[in-house]
Each structure stands twice: as C-alpha cells, then as structure tokens.
C-alpha cells in the first residue's frame, strides 16, 4: 500500500510520489520516438496513454491485487467500458450478474448495444442460470464481488471455474471489496475492474478507475487480442507481449482511442488513498457490522441486507471470500404499509439525518446515505429495478470513519419512533 510502484528517483530522492503534471514527454531523438510509437521500447509519449505518476498508481494497485499489471482510467465506468471494448467484438455477448450497480446495467444494456454487443443477466447466486445463459457468442462472464445494493456475494471460485471450462474470462468488479478485503484473482478471476473513486480514494476528491489482468488467461482464442491488429499495423498483441498483451492492447488502442485516461493529479490523490486502504476498510467494515446489527434490532426497520450478518442469504460466502469484513455498504428497508408509504418514510428518514451525507456515492470516509429508487437506479424500468433487488423503500448506507456511537445516535434519532 505504501511502497509498491514507487522507487525514490535517483536525482532528487523525493520520498512522496511526484506529480508529473505534463501532457507530453520529450524524445531522446527521432529513432527513439519511432521506437516508442511502435511499442518497441517502454516509455512515455503522451499522458493520454501513460504518465509516470499514473504508473505508480497502476503498479501499486496491481501489486495489491496480485495482478500482472493495470491500466488506470478516467472513472470506474471507463474501466469497465475499456475492458469490454478491448475484449469484445460486434456480435459477442456477455453474461452478467443482475445484481450490478445501476450505471453498469445501463452501460451494458444501452451503450454496448450500440456496438452490437449483447448482454444476458442472471441471478448471480444460481450457477445453473450462468450456465444456461452461455451461448456460442458468449465471450465473458461479469459480476461484482459484493453486489450493489443488496450485498449479494459472488461465488468467484465456482463462476471462475465455469468460465475456465468454457475457455472464457471471468471479469469481476471489486469496487465494494477492494484488495484489502478480497483479491478476486486469487480465486480464479481473469480481469478485475474498480471504481477507484470509492474506497481506493476514500477521500471523495477524485473520480478514477482501473482495470487489471491476472496474466494467467490464454487469449490466443480471442481475435481481439491475438489476431493482427488493424489499429496497430498488424501487431499481434498476445503473441508479442505475452501476459502483458491484453493490458498493452487496452492502453495502446482502447484508452488511446477513447481518451478515457486518468489525470496525473487524480492518480496522485488516489495514491494518497491507497496508503491507508486496509486500515480504512477494516474499520469501516467493523462499523458497518455494528450499524447493521443495530438496525436489525430496531422496531422501525423491516429488513437489513448486509452479508456480514448471519441473516443474509450469502453470509457463508461472505465468511469465505471476505473474512476481514463484508464491506461498508449495505441497504435496509423501513417498515411501511404500502409502496407510497415506504417512499414517504424513506424521504422523512433521509431528511432527518444529521451526520450522514445525502449524496450519490459510496466508499467515502464520511458516512453516506441514498434512496436508489429516486437517484442511481431511476434510469431502470420497474422490471429491471425488481431484478436488481431495489424496492421503492430501500435505503443504502455507506459507513465512514466517524465514531460509530455517533452514527448509531444519528440513525436512532432519524428513524420513526415506535408507535405508542
């Protein structure tokens, strides 16, 4: 968390990571310039493709995940899109968990459709659904370590084994777990994506994302990675760069062409976050468990969906994959007689809170609260909403670093008093 990816430079010895706030880099000579453009040397050309500050962030997160390398992107959504656009071609399909972040579902259904890439959603807890959804066009499986917002835990080993048996990669979004709680590659995932905006940063000051490759998948059956590339004078990325092939392609073609790069300043901010990642994740998970237990025992609360609680259907998977804590984000529902009553009660509760910030983010050191049905998930149809497990009265919490007693006080005073 504090050293990987950064060796103090030979000239200044600067201990902290310097910010290389520059768009471009001077070439040694014409020959070196040509070699850099042909990818025959490692080096920096232009910050849209690579940057020394961003490289520290990339190598550090790769080290934490046990990945062979990483490519940083402008956001988590960009990390996911760059992964799909690198791997897939028109006509291909993805099988994805239905328990994804609402924005991911929208990207998969609507934006990928414009590239003629299809998606089939499955209940991530039912392996036979994953199996049944795979067609000859399926090229990847996709799920979240901890689903959003119901906290479904992906059985990474079983889904990865299924993917491996069909010769395709499992892609895991591990934003809610971070490598401090779970390293999907150790359980068989091929590619991992993160919204670094959340827990990796922790401070809520920078939008960013990252994609990582285990380096263990044989991409020779994927023409997008292995065949001569028309976008790079017939370079065969997998043959030439081996286990770096996917990431080199993602950087030198997809990020180059989409422009979805991370800014060096944001990389610097995210590096500051990484330095304290495990401390925050352990503490925030611990507090989340306290809060979840409190809510479960509160008379105004109908249900609590936190995989750290024995009452959650995926508790056993959480014990297996998240032994150091089930994360700091979960949802709960207020007791209500009808959907309209639930919506009204939810609004009153959010407006009564004093310490929780009402906003559309998670993973901050400040505790956050949101009502997904009217915000993050409002683009979804009722049917998609129900499939994603989001009811009208669902409230999502992201537990921060405040004193947990203060958080319990705040929730207690905002929850409806038991009827007398």
């Amino acid at each position: 968390m504090v050293h990987a990816g950064h060796i103090p430079d030979a000239v200044t010895g600067a201990r902290a990571v310097p910010i290389y706030q520059t768009t471009s880099f001077v070439f040694d000579d014409a020959e070196q310039a040509a070699q850099l453009f042909e990818l025959k040397q490692y080096g920096n050309i232009y910050t849209r493709i690579s940057n020394p500050t961003t490289a520290v962030f990339e190598e550090r997160i790769a080290s934490l995940e046990g990945a062979t390398g990483a490519v940083a992107t402008a956001s988590g959504m960009a990390a996911q899109l760059v992964t799909f656009l690198t791997l897939l071609a028109p006509g291909d399909e993805i099988v994805a968990s239905s328990q994804l972040y609402g924005g991911s579902i929208t990207q998969l259904v609507h934006t990928l459709r414009k590239f003629s890439i299809g998606v089939r959603f499955v209940n991530p807890s039912v392996l036979s659904e994953w199996e049944a959804a795979i067609t000859p066009r399926t090229r990847a499986l996709y799920g979240e370590t901890i689903g959003n917002p119901r906290g479904a835990i992906l059985d990474i080993e079983r889904v990865a084994a299924l993917a491996a048996s069909r010769g395709m990669p499992l892609i895991v979004d591990s934003t809610m777990a971070t490598p401090a709680l779970c390293r999907p590659i150790e359980h068989g995932a091929t590619l991992v994506v993160h919204s670094a905006t959340k827990f990796i940063g922790g401070h809520g000051t920078a939008i960013g994302g990252v994609l990582l490759d285990s380096g263990k998948f044989d991409f020779s059956g994927y023409p997008t990675i292995a065949a001569p590339s028309a976008a790079y004078h017939d370079l065969r990325f997998y043959d030439t760069f081996g286990h770096y092939g996917f990431l080199m392609k993602a950087r030198a073609e997809t990020v180059r062409d989409t422009g979805a790069c991370l800014s060096p300043f944001n990389a610097f901010l995210l590096i500051q976050g990484l330095e304290t990642l495990s401390l925050r994740m352990h503490r925030q998970s611990e507090s989340a468990l306290r809060v979840a237990r409190f809510l479960e025992g509160h008379p105004a609360v109908a249900w609590v969906a936190y995989a750290g609680l024995p009452s959650h259907p995926d508790h056993a998977l959480a014990v297996k994959y998240l032994p150091n804590g089930a994360g700091a984000v979960f949802s709960f529902g207020l007791k209500a007689g009808s959907a309209a009553e639930g919506r009204a009660a939810g609004r009153r509760f959010i407006e009564g809170l004093r310490l929780f910030s009402h906003l559309a983010n998670i993973g901050d050191v400040r505790s956050l609260v949101i009502h997904p049905a009217s915000t993050t998930h409002q683009q979804l149809t009722d049917e998609e909403l129900a499939k994603g497990g989001v009811g009208p009265g669902l409230i999502r919490l992201s537990i921060g670093l405040e004193n947990v007693e203060d958080l319990l006080w705040d929730l207690d005073q905002a929850l409806p008093a038991p009827s007398r």
Binding site: H3, I7, Y42, A55, E58, E59, G69, H243
Partner: protein, 178 residues
Amino acid sequence: MGPGPGLACAITLNSALTPEQQRLYQDPLVIQRLLREARTIAIVGLSSDPQRASWFVASYLKNEGYRIIPVNPKADAILGERAYPDLASIPDKVDMVDVFRPASECLAVARQAVAIGAGALWLQLRLVNIEAAELAAKSGLAVVVDRCVKMEHGRYFGRLHWAGMNTEIISARKARLS
C-alpha cells in the same frame, strides 16, 4: 531509474515453472548479473519480420547498447547485423544465447551453446525445456527459463513500470543513475 542496492525480491508471477524450477532457472540475482555483464547476445530464431516478438526483443536490446547477433539460416542480416545460420558459425565470443525456437529444438541449441563456450542460455517466455536447461547448467552456463529478456531488463531498469506493469520490486532505497 535503476534498482536500489541489494535488490532481489522473489519474482513469482507469470511462469509455467514449479517453485523449485523457478528457484533454479529464474533467480533474480542471476538475471540481474546477466543483464549487467552480458555484452554480446546471440538470438536464435530472430525473425526478420519487424512485428514478431523476437524482433521487438532484439531491437530493444540493441537500443539498450547490447551487441546482438541474429541466428537465422534464412536471413543474411537483421536489424543491420549480419545473421549466422547456427551458433557454431559465429566467429566471436558469445556472452548469452537467447532462444526463440520451439521447445523441441532447445536441447540441440543448448548443446551448441555449450560447444561454443557461451556464458549463458536463456529460453524465452513460455519456452520450457528442462532437459536443455539441465544440460547447460551442468556445463557451467548460467540458465534462465520461461522469462523474456526485454521484460526482465524493463523490470530492473525501471521502464516496464512505466507501462503500468507489476514489476514485483519493492524498495525504499533511492534509485541509482543507470
């Protein structure tokens, strides 16, 4: 950015070798010494196609100041260097033999490397022939198996890091000017 002094982290990712074979044939100290001391590298199976992996490695090494000797019976010259049909035809001393041929040919290449008195045998990434490695090691050659010379040079001399790759090097020591 060069490595700090005394740097020898275990490099474990991306290898088909067993941990015991990795200890024998992927020793970071041996790799660093070879990269530091070797000057003349014969590249067996160097392609004349500029988009092949072997060409990427050779052009990189030449650019880094190594003398490269192409070994390819179908070419007269590659990258401006005279090509030889086999190792035995090379008139000069060879510090290291870097191999880009199928695993089935590695034993024969190892025998030739021993015969010409080469200092080291290096089988490229995903190229594993333990019999060839053992033969060369018994004859006193330094041996590296299932690693890429370019990637390893980039790992220890800082530039692989710029591509966002996991070098597995962790050090709080100031880098040395290389």
